[in-house]
Assembly symmetry: C2
Homo-oligomer: 120 residues x 2
């Protein structure tokens, strides 16, 4: 299955989805699917978050917390769930603040191992 189809499947399953992407920790998107106009600089936000995800990873490892599997950030205008695929890539799903975060987390947990073999 192409990356796009995985990303479309997540957005169609999860109520309140705005966009879903596969991102590299270098800040470059591999593929994206957008279903709503976010009304903000989503691409810029994800580049910032990819750098922060790396910093969170380093902090957790230093303090013996183990590998970071997921980071969820809730702002006034957007909820973002990022899930590790492998040390180079992660999935990120943006939701409206009233979106179904639980279902979003579940959908990313399911597709991460499905896209991983294509990204290694």
């Amino acid at each position: 299955m192409a990356f796009k189809q995985h990303l479309e499947a997540v957005c169609s399953q999860v109520e309140g989805s705005v966009a879903c992407s596969i991102m590299g920790f270098n800040g470059l998107p591999v593929d994206s699917h957008r279903v709503q106009e976010p009304g903000m600089d989503l691409d810029g936000l994800w580049v910032e978050y990819s750098s922060l995800f790396s910093q969170i990873q380093r902090a957790a490892e230093t303090m013996q917390g183990g590998q970071v599997k997921e980071v969820a950030i809730h702002t006034e205008r957007l909820t973002t769930v990022a899930r590790l695929i492998n040390p180079e890539y992660f999935l990120v799903l943006a939701l409206s603040p009233d979106g179904n975060v639980g279902k979003g987390r579940f959908a990313l947990r399911i597709i991460a191992p499905q896209v991983a073999p294509e990204l290694s």
Copy 2:
């Protein structure tokens, strides 16, 4: 109600709680309650996370995402939910990886406005 009682109330309500604290964005804890031995440097982790929370806040504001209300970080050994109280302080709850994150998020959302008047 003293801070400690609020923190104890959160830990007693939420299955899998390890510890709950009120932290300043300067990295200094205001008060803490611990119910389990985390097996890692939790104080160090929270100092790191307080700096990261500030960076996430700046990134979200720059990209018009609005104020950051909550950040949840899931690592292999610990889940951490941090909730903004005001621009200077936040609540943080550490849970075992199988802890009840949904109830933890709910408990922090309820007590944040209760402790806020005592921290302004």
